[in-house]
């Protein structure tokens, strides 16, 4: 069709431009991580590395204390947070999907209300540090995000629409309690939802720097993102790195090391991304249709 060709002719280039703008920043960081630091200092960042070298990565791997510590914290927080979160979100969604649960609308509202009104950052901070005494722990980093109203509603919607009531009724007639119904009947049917929600949880935890900034005073509880943040923003951590590596600061490959660290921090996400993309899109779509 002629109009289709015109349409394609206009919008193919536009979409190519938009895609390029979306990807460009990654390429700049990648290139910066593989360029000789002196070139960066003299001529700035560019798209194509002018003097390719793996010096920055070598520096990081030679004394990987901060890298290992950051990875350790982030992996633990992500693993614990995602598994606990997935279990609790599913459980809560399950309860809220049961029609015989008389108070389901009231409870749903109370859960949702927390997104509309809150005491704010200060009381939350005070609760975590002053009352629960969780400052400096890894628990403080995964606990606050383990049950999000958005995900609970998403799960509840999914259960309501994908698990037919007849199935649960049949199980009940066969003598199954709620526990058995949940584990043997509902959970197996939830696989796509578990994948989508699990990925959303995991991504949130992996990218978090905020809770580290609030609750982590010592560097051995810093998340990967927070390490990167400090590396880019604060001269102190560069000095620390310099001391570990026994290099005079003047010679420390600062700019390219920052870029290399950025690649190492976000690398796993970008690596997994193509494989998990379809689950993500499915999750967003289901959320979109119900809203």
């Amino acid at each position: 069709m002629k109009s289709q060709r015109i349409f394609n002719g206009i919008f193919y280039p536009l979409l190519i431009l938009i895609s390029a703008i979306c990807v460009l920043p990654f390429l700049i960081i990648l290139s910066g991580s593989m360029t000789d630091n002196g070139v960066i200092l003299r001529e700035g960042f560019s798209l194509i590395p002018k003097q390719p070298t793996l010096e920055a990565y070598r520096t990081l791997f030679q004394n990987p204390t901060s890298l290992i510590s950051g990875y350790r914290v982030t992996i633990i927080v992500t693993a614990v947070g995602t598994s606990v979160g997935l279990f609790l979100v599913s459980l809560t969604g399950f309860v809220l999907s049961r029609k015989e649960f008389t108070y389901r609308n009231q409870v749903s509202f109370l859960i949702y209300f927390t997104t509309m009104f809150s005491g704010g950052l200060v009381p939350f901070y005070y609760m975590m540090c002053g009352v629960l005494k969780l400052k400096g722990t890894l628990t403080a980093q995964w606990m606050p995000a383990v049950l999000s109203p958005f995900l609970i509603v998403l799960m509840r919607t999914f259960i309501s629409s994908s698990v037919p009531d007849e199935l649960c009724d049949a199980a009940k007639i066969d003598g199954a309690g709620y526990g058995t119904t949940f584990t043997r009947v509902v959970l197996p049917l939830l696989k796509p939802a578990l994948a989508a929600i699990g990925l959303m949880l995991a991504l949130g935890y992996w990218n978090d720097w905020y809770r580290s900034s609030l609750f982590s005073s010592k560097s051995n509880t810093w998340s990967l993102q927070f390490y990167l943040y400090n590396m880019v923003n604060k001269a102190n951590s560069l000095n620390e790195l310099a001391n570990q590596v026994n290099i005079v600061i003047r010679d420390l490959p600062t700019e390219s090391v920052k870029m290399a660290m950025a690649m190492l921090v976000t690398g796993p996400v970008l690596l997994f991304y193509p494989f998990v993309q379809k689950y993500f899109v499915a999750g967003i779509t289901v959320g979109a249709v119900k809203g």
């Binding site: 109009s3 200092l41 700035g44 960042f45 649960f101 990167l228």
Partner: protein, 316 residues
């Protein structure tokens, strides 16, 4: 029949009887109940801080009660006005421009031919959603740095101009921040709108094609009307959150650079600094309370508007 004690009318059961009957379900719900109590509802008590001149020595109950003095200070110093203005204006730009871009890209994708191209394109535009705001900080640094930034690189070497100092000039940043917000959210929003567009029946397009409608006409007469209700609902729904800023975006791009605060400081970043840097809990809680109260009122209003337009979408 009737010899035993009088039963309540069928269907009405006291809370405790329900607790007993559905006790397993309530047990399952216990972690969530505890979580929201500890994380959200109990901290609400801390709103009391907003009315005190909090200091650590006296602690929670000992700090002197000062009534509305914190609010007075925030109002008179102009802080509240400036922060509110920034927060709302930015959110308006984010919501309107962001949604417009997302729906446009979604419509374009839906009518484009070439399955492979569409898939690759969608993968690429969704990428920004997956990186953290710290990485965004790194990008901005790469682009805007005075000495090594890519933009100044081009300005100095290619255009032979003088380098621009982005980090001391507040005027650039509204554009920079809005751009990055759109950049980060484009992929995600496009998926949402694509889901809506896919919901429009294929038969309309088939019929239109048979009648000889061009692609542009199909968009104008089928896609746009089909998407309009969702677009408006999402718009109104987002407006409900207009006093809640995108904290991570602003903090990572601007940080503690006070020179930029006049155009970039929002309610959330102010509260964060009050909590972490200044330890001014009274003021911090006051701003947070203001944000919550105003935000709640706006959500009620926007929900009322949605309910009038299409009751199925209303939250309650």
């Amino acid at each position: 029949m009737g010899q035993k004690r009088l039963k309540k009318p069928k269907g009405k059961r006291s809370f405790w009887q329900d607790l007993k009957k559905n006790r397993i379900l309530w047990l399952f719900l216990l972690p969530a109940i505890l979580f929201f109590l500890v994380n959200s509802y109990l901290p609400m008590v801390g709103i009391y801080f907003a009315f005190t001149d909090f200091n650590f020595k006296d602690g929670l109950l000992g700090s002197p009660f000062v009534g509305l003095k914190n609010f007075e200070f925030l109002f008179i110093s102009g802080a509240l006005g400036r922060l509110t203005k920034n927060t709302i204006l930015y959110n308006l730009a984010f919501i309107v421009l962001g949604n417009l871009c997302q729906v446009s890209v979604a419509i374009i994708i839906s009518q484009l031919t070439g399955k492979w191209f569409k898939k690759v394109n969608q993968t690429l535009i969704l990428m920004p959603h997956f990186v953290s705001y710290v990485i965004l900080n790194v990008f901005a640094y790469n682009l805007f740095n005075y000495d090594h930034g890519l933009i100044n690189n081009i300005v100095v070497n290619v255009l032979e101009g003088k380098p621009v100092d982005f980090y001391t000039n507040a005027a650039w940043w509204p554009f920079i921040i809005v751009f990055f917000n759109i950049w980060k959210g484009l992929g995600y929003g496009t998926v949402v709108y694509l889901a809506t567009i896919t919901g429009i029946g294929q038969e309309y397009y088939e019929a239109a094609k048979v009648d000889g409608a061009s692609v542009f006409q199909q968009i104008r007469y089928i896609t746009l009307p089909g998407v309009k209700p969702t677009f408006i609902i999402l718009l109104i729904y987002s407006l409900g959150g207009i006093v809640r800023g995108q904290f991570e975006l602003f903090y990572q791009l601007v940080g503690n650079n006070g020179l930029l605060f006049s155009t970039t400081d929002i309610l959330d970043t102010y509260v964060y600094r009050a909590t972490i840097s200044n330890v001014d809990y009274g003021i911090g809680t006051a701003v947070g309370l203001y944000q919550s109260v105003v935000g709640f009122a706006i959500v009620m209003v926007t929900n009322y508007c949605i309910r009038k337009k299409d009751p199925a979408y209303a939250l309650f």
